[in-house]
Structure formats: C-alpha cells, structure tokens
C-alpha cells in the first residue's frame, strides 16, 4: 500500500472564493460594469428599495437585476414591472451567493448592455456577509422594526458594508428605535460606512441614496 503523506494547506476556507471574487471584480471593472451586492434580513424592503432606486436612476444607467432566493420568482416579477432587466436565481437551499454563483447569474442576465448590475442577495444577516460575491460595493438595509441593536448582533454584516440604508423610517414613531443609537452601533463596527435613512415606500431619502449610488457608479466606470 502506498504511504500516506500529510500535506499542510493552512488556507482559509474562504480563500478560493475570495480569489474568484477578485477575478470577477477586475473583469467587471474592465467591462465598465458596476455590481452592487444588496443584503438584508428577509422583509427589510430590498425589492421595494430597488424599485425606488430603478425609478430614480433608469434614465441615467442601463440597469440589470439578479434576484436570489431559495425559491419562487415573485421578486423578479416585481422588478420586471419597472422595465428593468431582471432574472431570478435559485440557490437550491443555500443561504447566500458566492462568487461562482454570481458569475453564473451575470451570464444568465446577459451583461452586454448593462452598466449597473444589482444582486439582491438572499435575505439573511449572517452567511451573505462571509462570501465575497465580486461586487464593486456592498450595501445593506436595516429596517426600523428589526431594532437598533442589529449591528451589535450581526457585526460581520455591518463591517463588510460600504453603505447602510435604514429603511421604513415612516414608522419610527411607533417603534422603540433610536436612530442615533443605531448609527453609533454601526460606527462601532464600521467607522467608514455611509448611513442613509430612507423610506422606500414614501420615497423619503431615496434621492440621497441615488446620489450616493450615482457617484459610486460613475467613479467605478471612469477610473
């Protein structure tokens, strides 16, 4: 029998995915495609926020959206109503997208005429934060009913985000949600993150968010 040998690897389990993500990011950069990875817990308002975002930016950028869910195509249908190109990705039980799945999604979407691609990740505050998708920027939505303490409970999610949208601010009077405390908790985990309070339903703050996104997309495409 052949001798068994021990081979030392000493590599993070995320290293293979991180490498694929970096490759995808530089390919997208070359093609002039900005990819936004949008994360949140289920029901925070990702799809409603995207509809408002598309309405604000559809005259400036060609937008394509990938809706990732474990099952169903209700989100892709809601996005398609806005006139933006949309596809539904099924993760087959997985709670997040990785770089390989994101690449497949972009191929399915067809990026030839897309300038701003948006990935609506699976609703989950844990796993999507661990897997780099290859996105140009990461955004997450925290909605008022979820509570101001979420940055303390899910620190990794808040630390990987470039921008945090605090959604459903129209219901602030009905919840014990301290906006200042929430911003303070986010700062503890991520001093560099931009925080924008919005209400996707009424449109409040969407102009500020659209300004941020416009600036990032232009910077990415011009560099």
């Amino acid at each position: 029998m052949d001798k068994v040998k021990v081979i030392e690897i000493k590599q993070s389990v995320f290293a293979a995915n991180d490498k694929q993500a970096d490759e995808l990011r530089s390919e997208l950069k070359e093609k002039g495609i900005f990819l936004l990875n949008l994360m949140s817990s289920p029901g925070a308002g990702k799809t409603t926020t995207l509809r408002a975002t598309i309405a604000a930016l559809k005259d400036e950028f060609k937008i394509g959206v990938m809706e990732a869910d474990i099952d169903s195509d209700v989100d892709a249908k809601r996005i398609a109503e806005t006139g933006a190109k949309a596809i539904q990705l099924h993760t087959g039980g997985m709670c997040h997208l990785d770089a390989g799945m994101t690449r497949q999604g972009l191929e399915g979407l067809g990026t030839g005429d897309v300038e701003l691609a948006i990935l609506e990740n699976v609703g989950n505050l844990v796993c999507p934060a661990e897997f780099d998708t290859g996105a140009s920027k990461n955004a997450m939505i925290l909605s008022v009913p979820e509570g101001e303490d979420k940055p303390l409970k899910y620190p990794l999610m808040f630390s990987v985000c470039d921008v945090v949208l605090i959604n459903k601010i129209d219901v602030l009077p009905y919840f014990d949600f301290n906006l200042e405390k929430c911003v303070e908790y986010i700062r503890m985990r991520n001093p560099a993150a931009t925080v924008i309070p919005i209400c996707a339903k009424t449109g409040e703050g969407i102009d500020v968010w659209a300004d941020w996104l416009r600036g990032e997309v232009n910077a990415w495409r011009n560099k």
């Binding site: 040998k5 021990v6 690897i9 993070s12 389990v13 897997f131």
Partner: protein, 114 residues
Amino acid sequence: MHELGIVFNIIDTVEDVAKEQHLSEVATVTVQIGEVSTVIPHYLEDCWNWAVKKTELLQQCKLICEPIEAITFCEGCEQTYRTVDFGKICPYCGSEHTYLLVGNEVQIKEIEAV
C-alpha cells in the same frame, strides 16, 4: 446553512491540491474552526458526509474539526479573556473597547493523502 457553502469551498481547495500533487485518494481533511466563527462543526460534518459522495477523490475522506479557542483583548486594561465566557465587555475593567485576537478563523490545516 452556510456550512454547505463552506463544505463546497473546502472540497474545491482540496481537489485543486490533489490534482496539483497527483494524489489518488485523500483520507482525511483537518479544518480548524474558531469558537466564534459561526460555523457549527457538527453541521459541517453532516454537510461534508453528504457532499463528498458527489466527488471523485474524496469519497471516503473524513473531515476532522479542530476547535480554536476565542480570545478577546481589552484596550482599556490591556488584558485578554475568553470571548465565549464574557463577550464584548471586559470582565476585568468593564470596558466595551475590546477586539477579538483569535477565534473567528475557518481554515484548512492539512490533508492526509495517498
């Protein structure tokens, strides 16, 4: 179930090593898992046993999980303590200004192969 995604990543990495080094069979894979990495070793093993059946070289491969103790450092009093016992608040001086020194790793340590 992020354990399943992590298992696929481990398999990809090990298969790459196996190809590079012309291995015919991998007997064990040892992974080190930090206590506060959010990965549950028991779930990881269940996912592993299901996923390796779909591979060529890892059919009989066993996954060995080694824990890494989580240790937090306090900037207030410059002492360290066990993260799992006390969380983010320093048990010595009560400071909230603490950070994790070790314990959130998920890494592949080594493999045994023929």
